[in-house]
């Protein structure tokens, strides 16, 4: 499988936006029709390229939100000072064209044969590739047990909440809300650190496989805490988004 994918040339293609889904006040999911999409793996991303009238080009990477075999979709969070994301979340409409290349990445990917138990750790929009992994697990009939710890600023910032409120069998979803919480909130309300991970993470003795995605500071804190608790570094896969997005 990888052999043919590896040799493939990565070329820019024009996609057509086939649907825009409002996820939160600042987050949209874009479903994309790409004529020659070669298929992707759960956890991969793609690059988007915008060219303005003067020929100025801006490129950004976005994680793929859909599972392999589903219509291609990305989920984009608007960064107010962003060059690309405000266009994608506010301006783009169904039927519009968008230039992209992908799929990209062979490291932060999961296939059922990689096994588990899976520990998925998301900060803000870092949830997107982990959502692809969760949907892939369900669609392939995998029974690997999963714990997802999802850190958001507020409950309204939780992406895919309807989906996560009814998780698949064997999937446990744990939220932590770091900025504000509803009055009746019984979940966690603090940053993901060693103490919180000690409560929610699989013990290292279970030989779990961890995927950590989010802002750089979140990923650094969480991955270091996991390794200190005994997770082998090669079982902790990380993807850093930089200073963007909220946790």
């Amino acid at each position: 499988m990888a052999g043919t994918a590896l040799r493939r040339r990565l070329t820019w293609q024009v996609a057509k936006v086939s649907a825009v889904i409002v996820e939160t006040s600042s987050v949209r999911t874009l479903t994309l029709d790409v004529p020659d999409w070669p298929g992707h793996q759960a956890g991969q991303h793609l690059d988007i390229r915008l060219t303005d009238e003067d020929g100025y080009v801006a490129e950004r990477s976005y994680s793929i939100a859909s599972a392999p075999g589903e219509p291609l979709a990305i989920t984009v969070e608007r960064l107010d000072d962003g060059e690309v994301s405000p266009y994608l979340t506010d301006e783009l409409r169904t039927g519009d064209d968008l230039e992209l290349r992908g799929p990209i990445g062979g490291y932060f990917v999961w296939e059922p044969e990689n096994g588990g138990p899976l520990l998925l750790l998301a900060g803000g929009s870092g949830i997107v590739p982990l959502r692809s992994i969760l949907r892939h697990r369900e669609r392939t009939g995998s029974t690997v047990p999963v714990r997802l710890l999802y850190s958001s600023r507020t409950l309204n910032d939780v992406i895919y909440r309807a989906e996560f409120d009814q998780p698949a069998s064997g999937v446990e979803v744990i939220y932590t809300l770091t900025r504000s919480q509803p009055p009746d909130w019984s979940g966690y309300a603090r940053r993901a650190d060693a103490a919180l991970l000690a409560e929610v993470a699989w013990p290292a003795t279970a030989m779990p496989l961890a995927y950590v995605c989010g802002p750089t500071s979140f990923v650094e804190a969480v991955s270091q805490a996991l390794v200190q608790s005994g997770y082998p570094p090669e079982r902790v896969k990380t993807e850093r988004f930089g200073a963007t997005g909220g946790t």
């Binding site: 994918a5 590896l6 040799r7 991303h45 992908g102 990445g105 490291y107 750089t216 990380t238 850093r240």
Partner: protein, 81 residues
């Protein structure tokens, strides 16, 4: 400026090397630290794209693209691939 990681330059690396590289092995030429390319520290907004060792901070790779031509400096690496 905050670093991202090698995942963020998967597209650039594919363009330069003609193959998926985020899962490739790397060894730092300065300190000998070994890790997948995906785990390297990447600065996207330097003049060009700068990739550093996450252990000793040495510069491992530099990519500068001007007019569709990408200049590649891999001198900081002992091993790639």
């Amino acid at each position: 400026m905050e670093a991202v990681d090698g995942n963020a330059i998967g597209g650039l690396l594919h363009e330069v090397f003609g193959t998926e590289m985020t899962d490739a092995a790397s060894v730092c030429g300065s300190c000998g630290a070994a890790r997948p390319v995906a785990e390297l520290a990447v600065y996207l907004r330097a003049p060009g794209t700068v990739v550093r060792c996450r252990s000793c901070d040495s510069v491992l790779m530099v990519f500068v693209t001007i007019h569709d031509r990408t200049c590649v400096d891999l001198l900081g690496l002992a091993v790639l691939g």
